[in-house]
């Protein structure tokens, strides 16, 4: 499968704690993106990291990329109840310019 692999598949943490999700892929990429999805409908773009970047921040989000290990991680700091959602990594393949999604991590923030 060309899909990325994400772990964990599901994660439950207390409000205020940090949440870390990981993504691995198999091919050479141009960039890697993280998306959030509520209620199984449209996805919302969170952050994009290019293949020549190693770390990127946006508000409470921190993304790292290790192209030698073909892996990325998304860290959400100081989690809030509103962060409860599914999170997907997606990567733009160099070979044929299409964007492939991972299977997602379902994050649940406990009040």
């Amino acid at each position: 499968s060309q899909q990325g692999e994400e772990d964990p598949q599901a994660l439950s943490i207390q409000e205020g704690e940090n949440a870390t999700m990981n993504c691995s892929y198999k091919t050479s990429i141009n960039n890697l993106q993280w998306y959030r999805q509520n209620s199984g409908r449209g996805l919302v773009h969170l952050i994009l990291i290019r293949s020549n970047e190693r770390e990127k921040h946006s508000g409470r989000l921190r993304v790292t990329l290790d192209t030698s290990k073909k892996s990325s991680s998304l860290l959400i700091t100081a989690s809030r109840a509103a962060d409860t959602a599914s999170y997907f990594c997606a990567f733009l393949m160099n070979r044929d310019d299409k964007i492939i999604f991972g299977k997602g991590t379902r994050l649940h923030i406990l009040p």
């Binding site: 998306y35 199984g40 994009l48 997907f88 299409k98 999604f101």
Partner: protein, 113 residues
């Protein structure tokens, strides 16, 4: 400005019927993607347009599925002889360039009875 619009939001059809799903991308976006998502799964790539042409249709499951984008804007995903296994949420996304973030519509939930 307006986001990506998908119509209808829900479609119920009988097995064997033909359906068309429409996507209006953000104005000026050259790249357009179709994905299919089943419950609890990630979006599954179907087809990618760059302008009017299908740059990659390798994700279309079989020849019952076809998509067009005749003027490089609106796209229609067409499914012939629908089967119950086609039931899913069909997502459309557009981006300004091939390596920019995707903007998604809210999807069409297709149910084949």
């Amino acid at each position: 400005g307006a986001g990506v619009s998908q119509t209808p939001s829900n479609k119920v059809t009988e097995k064997g019927k033909y359906v068309e799903l429409r996507c209006d991308p953000i104005s000026g976006h050259t790249a357009l993607y179709w994905y299919r998502q089943s419950l609890g799964q990630g979006p599954e790539f179907l087809i990618y347009f760059q302008g009017t042409g299908a740059a990659d249709d390798s994700g279309l499951p079989n020849d019952r599925f076809f998509a067009v984008r005749p003027e490089g804007s609106v796209s229609t995903l067409k499914i012939q002889r629908t089967e119950r296994g086609d039931s899913a949420v069909y997502l459309c996304a557009s981006s300004s360039t091939y390596n920019s973030p995707l903007h998604f519509g809210n999807g069409t939930r297709l149910t084949v009875t």
